[in-house]
């Protein structure tokens, strides 16, 4: 069914939705909440992102490590005048808890939600936990869209009163296996009701071009806004780790070589032989190259038809977002009239 919109033509009225609907190339950035109850961490990280992105994703116990909740951190962002994208996983909550949390999130002013399956708990700091996975990410998208468009709960019971009107996001892993099925799984997410997509990290542009070609052939880029995931590499070791140990991430050797080259002046020296200053200088050289690579990746992504924006995942390195956005020529961000509903 065609989703009903607000009287202004928007589904949710979020800034992210407006930026995309008005044809701007969107920028979202990720903010990882602290493993503590300290609101200052959120505020400090938020300041690094203010003005440099259209909405800020707040992760939901990422890699299954207990952190401040996405909705709690999102409420702080709203107090700070910034717009969150609430990440919601299926790992820790059943359909009751998810719906109830989303009603609360909407009441607190949140308008974007990213629906994820969630990393398995064995990766995190509570590997003995019982998981939930009552729903999967596609069923979650469907549930959030039913709450908004059909005004009923997952059970089918009608939702009386204000429905939560979220701009609904989902993730895509273009390079996970089976790779030939990935565009079709994306199609399932969009059919379920996803309005925007944020992809896993892209480092291999030709591989992503192949994926987008299939996405366009299915017409998916016209049914949802696709934001390509990017992230600055901090060191050759991080690049190799991403390539070898994180499923669904392709890191071309040429990028690893560039990072190695940046650290070449210190090559052959063991950690013990290096002074603190030398270590910092090498790390800075790597980081500068990592940011430069990220800028170049964005410039390449800007040219791919069907890419509606980028999602920057600078994991525990939010300082990198400003130089990346500026370097890619995406600063300043469009200022759209604030919607009140």
């Amino acid at each position: 069914m065609a989703a009903e919109t607000l009287n202004n033509g928007y589904l949710s009225g979020s800034n992210l939705e407006k930026v995309l609907k008005n044809g701007h190339f969107a920028v979202t950035a990720e903010l990882g909440p602290p493993q503590s109850a300290d609101p200052q961490v959120i505020k400090q990280k938020a300041e690094l992102l203010r003005g440099y992105c259209d909405a800020i994703n707040i992760t939901d116990n990422q890699t299954a490590i207990v952190r401040m909740s996405s909705i709690g951190a999102g409420a702080i962002l709203i107090q700070e005048g910034l717009e969150p994208v609430i990440q919601m996983t299926c790992r820790d909550r059943n359909r009751l808890a998810i719906q109830s949390d989303l009603l609360g999130a909407y009441a607190l002013g949140m308008r974007n939600v990213l629906c994820l399956t969630g990393d398995h708990q064995t990766f995190g700091n509570h590997p003995e936990a019982k998981n939930v996975f009552d729903l999967d990410s596609i069923q979650l998208v469907q549930m959030v869209s039913q709450l908004r468009d059909e005004k009923h709960f997952q059970s089918g019971e009608p939702l009386k009163g204000q429905e939560p009107r979220f701009f609904i996001g989902a993730a895509a892993a273009p390079f996970a296996d089976p790779i030939e099925f990935r565009p079709y799984r994306l199609a399932k997410k969009i059919k379920a009701g996803a309005n925007f997509i944020q992809t896993q990290l892209v480092y291999d542009i030709p591989a992503f071009e192949n994926f987008m070609e299939k996405v366009r052939a299915l017409g998916l880029h016209q049914q949802a806004y696709i934001l390509a995931g990017v992230g600055p590499l901090k060191s050759p070791a991080m690049a190799k780790y991403m390539r070898d140990s994180v499923p669904g991430i392709l890191v071309p050797q040429s990028l690893i070589d560039r990072l190695e080259e940046a650290g070449a002046p210190w090559a052959g020296k063991s950690k013990e032989e290096m002074t603190k200053e030398e270590k910092k200088a090498r790390s800075d050289a790597w980081k500068q190259t990592g940011i430069q690579i990220c800028v170049e990746l964005i410039q390449a992504l800007l040219k791919i038809e069907g890419v509606a924006g980028i999602h920057i995942m600078a994991i525990e390195w939010e300082e990198a977002v400003r130089p990346i956005v500026e370097g890619a020529g995406l600063y300043p961000r469009p200022q759209l009239e604030k919607q009140t509903i």
Binding site: C90, R91, R95, T117, G118, D119, H120, T122, F123, N131, F133, D134, L135, D136, S137, I138, Q139, Q142, M143, Q154, A171, A173, A176, D177, P178, F181, Y184, R185, A187, K188, K191, A192, Q200, P247, G248
Partner: protein
């Protein structure tokens, strides 16, 4: 079948506690086939416990017996006398066998000798793998005969997630990705349209989530309508 593993001897000793007369009860069905609790294992465990308690300086009287199936009253009737004489019964049945003995002999203390692991099959000698989660609403007809509830780490109905790489699950490279298997099988049989459909949220009421389960077949009950 039901796959189980023996508990370590130290735990068995602790479960037996101060009991003097111990009856080890094996089971002749699933746990015999998976080499965890059949007649052979019952004899070995009884003998190991005899040696261990002797070494500890407090030798106990430990005997063993094996029934065809611990989960049926008629087989348990056959060991009534031995059970009555024991201070503790160490059941080498699955969790069902342990509880059947408990229900059949209410005045006897019964402890488990096995950890019941899963419903599965032997892939090869010495290797067993899970195949069924007994969810009560079989979807194998939609997934090419490969169960994502039992075999996908996240029990996804619309998989695979982004953690599928080279045919493996990211949780452990020893776990084949169930959805890769489903995809490959549907593809090879020309039924990929099945994976293109969105599967709705599962009704978990038929699984354990609906509370302990029970089946009543009136047509089979004795003393039912003539």
């Amino acid at each position: 079948m039901i796959i189980a593993e023996q508990k370590p001897l130290s735990e068995l000793k602790s479960l037996i506690g101060s009991a003097e007369k111990v009856l080890v009860v094996g089971c002749g069905t699933c746990v015999t086939v998976c080499f965890a609790g059949g007649a052979r294992e019952a004899a070995i465990i009884a003998s190991s416990l005899r040696m261990a308690t002797k070494l500890d300086g407090h030798p106990k009287t430990i005997t063993d017996v094996t029934v065809q199936r611990q989960c049926e009253w008629e087989y348990l009737d056959q060991i009534t006398d031995q059970v009555k004489e024991a201070d503790v019964v160490l059941s080498l049945g699955c969790g069902i066998g342990v509880q059947a003995i408990v229900e059949h002999f209410p005045s006897t203390w019964v402890v488990p000798g096995l950890n019941t692991a899963f419903l599965g099959l032997p892939l090869e000698q010495g290797v067993w793998a899970e195949r069924c989660a007994a969810c009560g609403d079989c979807i194998l007809g939609l997934t090419g005969g490969i169960c994502p509830i039992a075999r996908c780490s996240k029990s996804l109905l619309n998989g695979p997630c982004g953690g599928s790489q080279d045919g493996h699950c990211e949780v452990n490279p020893d776990i084949p990705c169930a959805w890769q298997l489903i995809y490959d099988r549907l593809k090879s049989l020309g039924k990929l349209e099945l994976i293109m459909e969105i599967r709705p949220p599962k009704n978990w009421r038929t699984a354990r989530d609906g509370g302990p389960r029970k089946i009543v077949r009136e047509d089979l009950r004795l003393g039912a309508e003539e």
